[in-house]
Structures are given as C-alpha cells and as structure tokens.
C-alpha cells in the first residue's frame, strides 16, 4: 500500500512536469500541442547523448535538453504557429500543424537514434528502504523525484513573482485586456511556447535517468498529457499539477489492484475520465469553455 502511494507520487511528479508545459502552451496560444510527447522524447535523447554517450555530468545533460527544447519551442512558435494562426480562418487549423510537427519530430528522432531503447548508467547506485521493506525506492528515483519537485516549484515561483510570469498569466486570463495594458502578445507567446517545450524537454531528460528512452513513446505521452490537462482544467497551472498527480495515483493503484481482472487499468481510467468530463466539463479548476 505505502509502496503504491510512493510510486504514484513519483509518477505524478513527472506527469505534472509534462502537463505544466502543455497547459502553458494551451493557455497562451490556444494551441493543443500534439507534438508535446515528441518534444519530451527529444529532451530525453539530448540528455542521453550528453550524459550517456559523451560521459559528461548528468546536470549538463539536463541543461542541454532544456536549452535545445527552448530553442525548438521558440523557432516553432515564431516561424510556424504564429503565421498559421494569423492566416487561418479557424483556430483549429493549428491542430493540423501540431500533428504535422509530431510526425516530423517522430521521423527526425527515428532517423537519428533508431528504434532501439536507449539506457544510461545510473546516476547514483543503491536503494533506500523504510519500515522493513514496506517501501523501497532506488536512490536515483529519489534524486529524479526531488529534481522534478524543485523544477515545478521553480516554475510556479517564476510564474507568480517575476515580470514575464505575470505578463503570461495576464495574457492567459484575458488576451485583449493584457495587450491593451502593453503586454506584447507576440513576445510572451513565444516565451511561453519555448518554456512549455523546455519543461517537456526537462521531463524527458529526467526520464532517461531511470527508465531509458525509446523513439515510439511520444504519442502515448502526448495523450497522457492531454488527460492530465483535462482532469485539472485546460490552461490552469495548479490544475495541471493536480491532474498529473491524480493520473499518477490512478495508474499506480490501477496497475496493482486491477491486474487481477486483466489489462483494464487504462479502460477504467479513460472511461471514468469521460464520465467525469460529462459531469464537470471544464475539469477541476478550468474556466468554462476554454
């Protein structure tokens, strides 16, 4: 039981980090980023290259992941999403672009790294256990978990107490009003997209440390990220964190209690999400009709 809770928390923290990026992009640009999972995988491969292949420190690998995805996000926003959103008759056209990008990243990753699962040496050896093996956690998972929580905290502090953070929150709340107050929608839209991509990259970099990375997981990560954002409410930062932890817990409990009935954990999760959304369409904390 305790072990399940701990697993759920660990999973939830990683999920929350992914969902934060997706929700930020959605809040600022009204774009559903289908390529989010692929950005996460790309981040994973960057850390793998630097830390696993070249043998540099893990922290440097994370930094490279973050910077790469920051650049990718900025470029994608400036040269792809912004012109398309300006020219298209309906906002939804951006979904086609996002899906195209997802294919594009998938193919790049496949060409560069192949289909194999890539692992890296452990960051720290050893295992911690409490209460005579009721809870067992490997040391590297503790490090990754703590890093994740620190990053989430840093992101919240950034959004709450800095000027760019305040500008982005204002844009998310009311785009027109924020622009009238002199907030540059273009500049902060780009910053937000880059930050969102960076969070995905960081989450991917952390993932490599414990589970390794393979090229095909991008799509399913995107879908999970959508779920979390939906649970919490689209475009709301605390909602994304809540959604991440809720999904992490559901998976952890589901995988241990529902196993007896066959492979139905995800069926139960998806079905209950549909019921939940029919009753509460805007998630836990979202604004209605985001």
């Amino acid at each position: 039981m305790e072990q399940i809770v701990v697993n759920g928390l660990y999973l939830g923290a990683q999920y929350a980090l992914i969902a934060l990026g997706l929700t930020l992009i959605f809040a600022l640009m009204n774009v559903l980023n289908f390529a989010h999972g692929q950005m996460y995988v790309l981040g994973g491969y960057m850390t793998y290259l630097v830390y696993g292949k070249l043998g540099m420190p893990f922290a440097l690998g994370l930094a490279v992941s973050a910077l790469t995805l920051l650049a990718v996000g900025a470029v994608v926003e400036k040269f792809l999403f912004r012109p398309v959103l300006r020219k298209s008759a309906r906002d939804e056209s951006s979904m086609l672009l996002a899906a195209g990008l997802a294919f594009f990243f998938d193919s790049i990753i496949l060409l560069l790294f192949g289909q194999k699962q890539h692992g890296v040496p452990k960051i720290i050896e050893g295992v911690q256990n409490w209460g005579d093996f009721t809870v067992v956690i490997p040391n590297d998972k503790i490090v990754v978990g703590v890093c994740t929580v620190l990053m989430i905290a840093a992101f919240i502090i950034f959004m709450q107490y800095t000027k760019p953070g305040r500008a982005m929150r204002a844009l998310a709340q009311d785009r027109t009003a924020a622009q009238l107050m002199g907030v540059s929608a273009d500049r902060y839209g780009m910053l937000g997209f880059a930050l969102g991509a960076m969070l995905a990259g960081l989450a991917g970099g952390l993932l490599v440390a414990t589970t390794g990375v393979s090229s095909g997981i991008g799509g399913s990560i995107s879908i999970k990220a959508f779920l979390m954002v939906m649970i919490g409410g689209a475009g709301v930062v605390p909602g994304a964190i809540a959604g991440g932890f809720i999904l992490g817990m559901m998976e952890s409990f589901g995988l241990s209690y529902l196993r007896a009935y066959g492979d139905i954990t995800y069926l139960v999760i998806f079905a209950s999400l549909m019921v939940f959304l029919s009753i509460r369409p805007h998630g836990l904390m979202g604004k209605p009709w985001g």
Partner: protein
C-alpha cells in the same frame, strides 16, 4: 440556371471518370495495387466526411475511429457468428453506431473546443480497449476470415453478384467503395445546402445566438453527430469486409487523428474537402513508400509546408484565372 448546368456537367464528368475511365485505365495498365489504394481512399473519405460534419457544427471530432471500429465489429460479428448477409449488416452497423453516438453524444456534446476534442480522443481509446477486453470481439486476436459479401437476387435477377465468385475481387470492392462515396457526398452536399445545413452553420458560428432565436441546438448537434457516426460505422464495416479481418488496432488514435487531418487538409469550409484531403494525404503517403526511412520525414515536412501556405485547406487555393 447556367450555374446549375455547370455543376451538373462537372458532376457528370467526375462520375464518368471515377466509374468508367479510372477502372478501365487501371485494368489496362495492370495496376491492381493502385486500385486497392483508391478503394481505401474512397472508404476513408466516407469516414472522414462524418468528421467533417462535426466540424461543420463547430466541434473537433477525434473520435471517429471509435465508430469505425464499432461498425467494423458489428458487421464482422453479424456475418461470421450469425451468418447475416453482408449487405444487411451495412445499415445495421451504421444504425448501431448512430444509436451509440446518441447515447454518448447527449452528455458530451455539451462540451466545446478542446474539451470535446479530448473526450472524443479518449473515446477512441476506450473503444480500442473495450474491443480488447470483451469476449464477443475475440480480444486482441480480433476476427479474421470474414467471408466476402454474398450476392443479392431479386426475382431471379442478380442485383449484386456474389463477391466470392467475382473474377476480379478488387474491381468489385472498388465499385462498392466508390458508389458508397458518391452516395455519401451527394447526401452531404444536399444536407449542407438544405435548411438543416444552414441551421448547422448557425451552430458553428454562435450557439447561444442560434438558440436565442429558436434553433433547437441540442437536437441538431445530436442529429449531426449521429449522422457522422453512421458514416463512420458504415465505412468501418466495409473496411472490415475488404481486408477480411478486424482487430482492436484496426482503428486507433492514429486513425482518428488522420480522419481529422484529411478534413483539415481539404478545407473545413468545403463539402468535398475530406475527399480531396484523403486522396492527397493517403496517396502521398503511399507514393512516398519508395523513399524508405525518409518517408515520414518528407511526408511531415510537406504537410507542414502545406499548412503554412494554405492554412484554410487545399480547396481554398484559388487559381489566378478563376479569381
């Protein structure tokens, strides 16, 4: 009047092309493989025209794969386990999906924007996992060896020949898919240009306003969603018959997203958008097969460039001499 004649002439030429010229050319040149591709294009465009209809009422539908899967299974189970004639299972599969979509649609159609999109996306996943978990669908092994459609006779007159006795099975399926596509798009064109179509257009623009002047928006959107799912179900049923098998993985999220992409690429404001979008995307993917490892790279780059320059779809392209 002159406009109507022009439309009729255009439709006539198009029908003549796809019903006579294209099959004749393909048989002459011995490109049976291309005929299968075109069959798939016709079928998939029927399924995505359903998605297009939900776009038409202002909803992003990424759940069409669920209904296609459902339709495929209904038809396959009826044919294989109960020995029902395939032609009967076609409307039955459609109606089953329409009924299911009314039940599902009543609560979820109240959602809008990304929320609706996400719920339909989960619906696709639910359908796949259900098909995997249930016993009537035979779990992950799926249903295989579905016999080809049987013949229909009416007072000794063969209306539809038995597909098992056809010498060119591919040609038979080609005609089945193309006729289905023609019927579907003719109906869709009629629907969009009818009173119902204009009411749907009002939903797309502003539901509250439409409701305030007396449009029954709840009824309309369920109706549109049911028609959309009907098309998904019929398309899925024929698809299962053509490939003679159906698995939970036949239609999954990837397919649902593809149906949406076909609509986008063709253009959301054109009835025939899904047809063109399916043709370009599906054929393009197929033609790029020779490039091997770079297939996905070229395909996705082209897609990105297309959306960058024609964000409103291919049909929004106006040739210079046509204004």
């Amino acid at each position: 009047m002159a406009k109507n004649i022009k439309i009729a002439a255009g439709a006539g030429v198009f029908l003549f092309m796809i019903l006579a010229v294209v099959p004749w050319l393909l048989i002459k040149t011995g490109r049976g493989d291309l005929m299968s591709v075109l069959t798939s294009v016709a079928l998939l465009s029927v399924i995505s025209s359903g998605v297009w209809l939900t776009f038409f009422i202002g909803r992003i539908n990424i759940g069409q794969g669920a209904y296609a899967l459902m339709g495929g299974y209904v038809s396959a189970i009826l044919v294989v386990k109960y020995g029902v004639l395939f032609w009967w299972t076609l409307p039955l599969a459609g109606l089953f999906c329409a009924a299911a979509s009314v039940l599902i649609g009543l609560p979820i159609l109240r959602l809008r924007g990304v929320y609706f999109a996400m719920v339909t996306l989960t619906l696709t996943e639910v359908a796949r996992l259900l098909a995997q978990a249930l016993s009537i669908t035979n779990g992950p092994r799926g249903i295989t060896n579905i016999p080809p459609p049987g013949g229909v006779e009416f007072f000794g007159l063969t209306l539809i020949p038995d597909f098992a006795e056809l010498e060119n099975l591919r040609l038979g399926f080609y005609y089945l898919a193309v006729v289905l596509m023609i019927l579907c798009f003719a109906a869709m064109w009629r629907l969009v240009n009818s009173r119902l179509g204009f009411l749907c257009r009002s939903l797309q623009q502003n539901e509250e306003l439409a409701s305030s002047i007396g449009v029954n928006i709840g009824y309309l959107r369920v109706l549109a969603y049911a028609i959309s799912s009907f098309l998904g179900g019929v398309g899925g049923a024929v698809f299962a018959a053509i490939v003679q098998s159906i698995y939970p993985a036949t239609f999954q999220i990837q397919e649902s997203v593809n149906f949406m992409l076909y609509c986008f690429l063709g253009g959301l404001s054109y009835v025939f958008g899904p047809m063109l979008g399916t043709l370009v995307l599906y054929m393009g993917w197929d033609l790029l097969f020779k490039t091997g490892a770079y297939q996905l790279l070229i395909f996705s780059s082209t897609l990105i460039v297309l959306i960058l320059f024609l964000p409103n779809g291919l049909l929004s392209l106006r040739l210079p001499w046509r204004k």
